[in-house]
């Protein structure tokens, strides 16, 4: 049953909010909070990106030039943590905040004040991570996976990282509970579960995954903390513990985490492709089932990150088979998107370009994923640049491209203005070109034997590293263009038509004016 105000006058509450900075600090409005999430993640995307530029600058040629090995390790560690927890995840929560209430016909999120709190935890955690570079000993340097005993060796920076992860985890759990409750309780009358837009479905499943695995991460970092400071020996063999236990617990969180970052992208792409194909999504229910299968399978494949840690034959085989199975529902999704495009009437505005780019590159990431799943091959490529290439294909050209697709798709609804289509297309093609320049060659580097997380390398890897670095600089610069496009859209974009995308069918386009009013759906729409 929808919880609504029953305000007969529609948008009566429009301007009842403080102005200036207090508006943002005290806001409980899902649109304000969504915007803050999105701006925050964009800022963190540039912090993490700057670290990536440092890494690629050091790797531009053999020898140590810019970053000493210890600082290099801090850069790779914080690049990973900031991109995962600071950029990609909050960006998707931002989309959830803006879109879920509007797409299900709800007035706001279920727990509006908790929503505010989940956001405001983020800047605290992010500051801890960034400031840790400047404490004695510097930031955590044990990789974003912070395996002990290496991470028990670190200094204050590791403790700050642990605290930051705790805070981020709390924020994510609150955010997820909010999303689950909103979706389950606040849908407009007539919107059954199987009528929900796919973006809402993917987020519902993602939120359950988050609630399941975030406490596991909190647990494992707490165990690390007590090992570091309170004399426990969970991960210390000398005290009866086992370093590999950490890896099992970490990846029990870490693998579902991968899907937490990709399922909402599937959702966004499943909204964009039908809109610009002017044709309903092919196989809606199989999409839902495929998403759920991926989520369930993602919980039983964690040890494929640990094939070289040493485990019994049966263990290796089980995790290999389970991992390979994920290719089936993922394949179903790709086939469904293709079938949606088939005999559509397509146009190729920027959101559609990013969505097609997503499918194209994500499939390459999926292929290298299957190759990594094969234990014998994984033995060769584990912890090499091949893996780096693989997960950037699914995370950058996967999650990030989907985020761009979503941003261009919904910017007119959020701001009331159109973005500059020409610049948007430039953004896509430059991103596409430089992304592949950066990461495709890393497949070769990995196969030829270059380990990851090294600040310097043997001479036979020099050519591809140079190409990769040039690509990375280009990719980084291209993203500045995105910021320009967004600011330009907000400040001086052309006024958007009420419905800029004629193929759009979800509630925010069919039942709400553009831009969306501050309070929407105070009276729920009726979905037939």
């Amino acid at each position: 049953m929808a919880a609504v105000h029953g305000d007969a006058h529609g948008h009566g509450h429009d301007d009842h909010h403080p102005t200036g900075i207090m508006r943002w600090i005290t806001t409980t409005n899902h649109k304000d909070i969504g915007s803050m999430y999105l701006w925050f993640s964009l800022a963190m995307f540039f912090v993490g990106g700057t670290l990536a530029m440092g890494i690629r600058a050091e790797l531009y040629q053999p020898g140590i030039q810019i970053l000493e090995p210890e600082l290099f390790n801090q850069f790779t560690t914080l690049h990973g943590l900031i991109m995962v927890f600071g950029a990609i995840m909050p960006a998707f929560v931002g989309f959830a905040n803006w879109q879920i209430p509007m797409m299900i016909g709800a007035p706001d999120m279920a727990f509006a004040r908790m929503n505010n709190w989940s956001f405001w935890l983020l800047p605290v955690a992010a500051s801890l991570l960034v400031v840790s570079f400047f404490v004695p000993g510097g930031a955590a340097a044990g990789g974003w996976t912070f395996y002990p005993p290496l991470s028990t060796q670190g200094g204050l920076g590791v403790d700050m990282m642990i605290f930051a992860v705790h805070i981020l985890g709390a924020s994510s759990i609150m955010g997820s509970i909010n999303i689950i409750t909103t979706i389950l309780n606040m849908r407009a009358p007539g919107m059954t579960l199987m009528k929900m837009p796919l973006f809402v479905w993917t987020w519902l499943i993602t939120a359950y995954l988050l609630v399941l695995v975030m406490p596991v991460l909190a647990g494992v970092v707490t165990m690390l903390l007590t090992d570091r400071h309170f004399g426990t020996s969970f991960f210390n063999a000398a005290g009866g513990g086992d370093p590999v236990l950490f890896q099992h617990i970490f990846w029990f969180f870490g693998h579902p985490e991968v899907y937490i970052m990709i399922l909402p992208s599937f959702g966004i792409v499943s909204e964009v492709i039908p809109t610009f194909s002017r044709k309903p999504l092919f196989g809606y229910s199989s999409m839902v089932y495929a998403t759920a299968s991926i989520a369930i399978l993602s919980c039983v494949v964690w040890a494929h990150h640990m094939f070289t840690a040493g485990m019994p034959v049966v263990g290796q085989l089980f995790f290999m088979y389970a991992t390979m199975l994920i290719a089936v529902p993922t394949g179903v999704k790709v086939f469904n998107w293709t079938a949606t495009m088939w005999r559509g009437s397509m146009t190729f505005e920027t959101p559609m370009l990013f969505a097609i780019g997503f499918i194209f590159l994500f499939v390459i990431g999926g292929f290298s994923g299957v190759i990594c799943a094969i234990v014998p091959i994984d033995i060769q490529v584990q912890d090499t640049y091949y893996v780096i290439a693989h997960f950037h294909y699914v995370l950058v050209s996967g999650s990030l491209f989907a985020l761009f697709a979503g941003a261009y798709y919904w910017l007119p609804k959020w701001t009331g203005n159109m973005y500059n289509e020409t610049l948007g297309k430039w953004h896509f093609w430059l991103s596409m070109f430089f992304f592949n320049l950066t990461f495709f060659v890393q497949h070769f580097l990995g196969l030829a034997g270059m380990p990851r997380r090294i600040p310097d390398y043997a001479l036979q890897f020099a050519d591809f590293n140079k190409i990769s670095s040039l690509g990375a600089f280009g990719f980084g610069l291209t993203q500045v263009l995105f910021v320009y496009i967004v600011i330009n859209c907000i400040r001086s974009g052309e006024k958007s038509p009420e419905k800029p995308w004629d193929g759009a069918t979800t509630l925010e386009w069919t039942h709400l004016p553009t831009p969306a009013p501050y309070h929407s759906f105070e009276t729920p729409p009726v979905v037939k």
Partner: protein, 382 residues
Amino acid sequence: MRSKSVATLAGVSALALYSSMSIAAGEQSKYNLPEPQSVIAQDIYDQHIMLMWICLVIFIGVFGVMFYSVLKHRKSVGYKAANFHHSTTVEIIWTVIPCLILVVMAWPATKTVIAMKDTSSPDMTIKATGYQWMWGYDYLQGEGEGISFFSKLSTPRDQIENRAPKGENYLLEVDNHVVVPVGKKVRIILTANDVIHAWWVPALGIKQDAIPGFIRDTWFTADTAGVYRGQCAELCGKDHGFMPIVVEVMEEDDYAQWVAAQLNETEAAAEQAEVDADTEFTLDELSEKGEQVYAAHCAACHQPNGQGIPGAFSALDGSELVNGPVEGHIEIVIDGKANTAMTPFGHLSDLDLAAVITYERNAWSNETGDIVQPSDIKDFRN
């Protein structure tokens, strides 16, 4: 239609890259796994090529359809949208076919997994121990039993810091190679002294983590004599990128000679150690030896000038502990300090430990005048 031609170009170039990967295979290792030198490595190589072909076929199939659609089913050419949205038959087909493809992939992989885990009845066994940042090798069983040495990066700092031109095997060269005979099943037992490392030699198709406090094992049989290089593959701290592995595979006769020479040296060293244990050395003798030991084992963190790296690695120059009682100094060097980067160095010989401790107590601005004799270390150990 700019976007159209660019899309086509992108598709074609990606395909070209993918196929060039398979074609280039075998000729050079710049694009692909190195030329296999063991049965397992060969299996891995072949399976990788097979998977690349399968992926290429699927890629062409899926994106052939998608890009045909992108080119033909567009509004700008006046194509009117159809309105179908599901087909149970089609959906079942494209669920079942991938399952079958997976079985084709999994079958050979399963056989290889079983083979690579079978470390039984080896011809010889070598223990590899990961240290921050070098490898230690002990020949435990088989021809060469009793040989034991450390293997450390031999690339000079000048090359790394760009003061000298980089050599051919830059970062992939060590002072002591792991030598094994050709055609023998070699079992490698792995552990680590401090943090997790991973022992990886691509041409032999093995990679196994070395975990402190635990034993893991793996095996290989090298097909041909030669020198095969690899690197530590698990982030192990500052010098993770600087602890390569070099395996030298010798013909049986050469190997026998190598073993004899090594065992002679080991024997001589053992005799010397016995003499050393009861010798009283002078401060100069110990300091001179200590400086070498320091450079090999301590300088990476504590730095050649004893200043350490503030916040990360303590300074020894002027340190309270180094200038304090001798017992405390010996204890921390031998046992390490829990939960810090100071790992135990008890694996060094009594003489090396005595020398390095004496050196540290009398180097830089430290002037304790203390002399630590090998017998002091022996007493501490007992």
